[in-house]
Amino acid sequence: MMRGRVLIPIVVLAALLLSIGLVRFMTSAGASPRSEFLAATMSTEAVPDETPRWLVEISLPDGRPRVVTDRVDSMGRAVTVSCASCHSNFDANTARRSSDEPPMAFHQGLTFQHGNLSCVTCHNPDDYNALRLADGTRIEYRDVMLSCAQCHAPQARDYERGLHGGMTGFWDRTKGPQKRKSCIDCHDPHAPKFPSMTPTFKPLDRFLEPTGPGD
């Protein structure tokens, strides 16, 4: 038990040192843009008091970009298909700017309402398993936050400072790790406006609904 408690901080410290080393290596070798943006959020900054800090864990998307179709499987779940499974064979309609314009063909389950962007503003027409930046640089799907940050700079800046997007875990990272979401966990990248919500919980104050003597 005690051994486990001692080991965990050591492992974290080692991971931290390793990642600092990696980032240095990547920047010197003309690294992908990812290292500059994400490194800033991933606790590689110099810590004056030398106290080891736990890492910030960011939930990044996994696998390939997929699209929601209009089909459901036998369990009632929406069927999704990898973009590349069709668009490796035929070209996309790059003129489309919104899902209000018919026809949507295979993208029936998709609401597309993101300013005046087209699909290939973010998706990479040379490889639909990846994304691209405004200057054409290919980026991996898991680096999607870089894509968002190109236009949403104030939000990206606040995210880096820990002021946007919330978190769970520890405020004091000398005591434990922090978990944070990525942009597309809260904002649907195809329709990024934060959705309307229904309040589910209301305290019953006594001036609202007396429930008995003394209330």
């Binding site: 104030p154 606040d158 400072r161 820990g162 002021l163 946007h164 997007g165 919330g166 978190m167 769970t168 875990g169 520890f170 405020w171 004091d172 990272r173 000398t174 005591k175 434990g176 809260c186 934060f194 309307s196 919500m197 229904t198 309040p199 589910t200 919980f201 209301k202 305290p203 019953l204 104050d205 006594r206 609202l208 429930t211 008995g212 003597p213 003394g214 209330d215």
Partner: protein, 312 residues
């Protein structure tokens, strides 16, 4: 615990029928009878006090030994009354830490997940949906509560409205502490204003003194199903409070003094809440104070809240 400790003693004025009858029969004045009748509902509030509880001293006078005994008694009570196995701890303020909280009113959409998280984390009464937080739907252009509504149930956010979550601001200069006649509430080193629920006499002066309506009075014993009782409890924070005492938000000190985030922050789906150490210049909360347009409610009263609001 010995047998003599278990014996219960009832307080003399609290509605013992025989005593009231005796007073009347003895030719007591009408005034006395009226007084007895007026205080008789109080009898239901605390039930019967155990001798140990009656003799319990102020939190600050308790030795480690005293605390161990008291916590054991409270844990047994929770088992008896709620059927729950709870663990009561007493985490101390972390040296060099003073807590600050900030809420981003540009992104808060009034969904109320914070209120529900507080309700569950802090073992509030299920029948009244009690919570230390209220979210007010406010018309744009004012911060005056009297224009606010905390009872809305429609989808949020609404056009022309903003949403203002209010809880204890852990003031640097807390008016509620000044008025307590028995020092049952005080400010700790890390800025959190706490209540010793076993020392509070339920006079509610603090409730009247608080300019932010942040304090609550327990009108009755909380009802919580055994499986919903949060067993991770602090003596000065979320342990199940007796009826007849005042309680308030304590920045989840049983969590935050272990370095964890408060429950309301973790629950917020919009990421509107920022918590941290005001004394650490690199902390998120200090970054808010340095880079955002920040304000506090009723600044002119001079209570100096440490819960701030800001806009992006």
């Amino acid at each position: 615990m010995s047998d003599s400790d278990k014996r219960t003693i009832s307080l003399p004025v609290l509605g013992e029928v025989s005593r009231r009858t005796a007073l009347k029969a003895g030719g007591a004045t009408l005034g006395l009878a009226a007084f007895a009748a007026a205080v008789s509902p109080l009898a239901g509030l605390r039930g019967r006090l155990s001798a140990q509880e009656l003799m319990q001293r102020h939190y600050k006078e308790l030795s480690a030994d005293d605390k161990a005994k008291i916590f054991e008694r409270l844990e047994n009570e929770a088992k008896e009354r709620y059927g729950a196995d709870v663990k009561i701890k007493d985490p101390k303020a972390i040296p060099g830490v003073r807590y600050g909280y900030a809420i981003n009113l540009s992104v808060c959409n009034g969904n109320g997940a914070c209120m529900e998280a507080c309700h569950r984390e802090n073992n509030h009464d299920r029948s009244t949906n009690q919570s230390y937080i209220r979210v007010f739907e406010m018309p744009i252009g004012t911060t005056d509560f009297k224009h606010g509504d905390s009872t809305y149930t429609h989808d949020v956010p609404r056009e022309g409205k903003y949403y203002l979550p209010v809880q204890c601001f852990q003031c640097e200069n807390p008016p509620c502490v000044d008025v307590c006649p028995v020092e049952a509430t005080w400010q700790e080193e890390d800025g959190i204003v706490v209540v010793d629920y076993n020392w509070c006499i339920g006079c509610r002066y603090c409730q009247a003194a608080c300019p932010y309506h942040a304090r609550r009075f327990n009108w009755k014993e909380p009802q919580i199903p055994a499986e919903e009782v949060n067993p991770d409890q602090g003596y000065l924070s979320n342990r199940i409070r007796p009826a007849g005492v005042v309680e308030k938000c304590h920045f989840c000190l049983h969590r935050t003094r272990e370095g964890r985030q408060p429950a309301c922050l973790e629950a917020c789906p919009t990421g509107a809440r920022i918590f941290g150490n005001l004394l650490d210049p690199e902390s998120e909360i200090r970054t808010v104070l340095r880079t955002k347009r920040v304000f506090v409610l009723k600044e002119e009263l001079g209570a100096r809240p440490t819960l701030f609001y800001f806009f992006d």
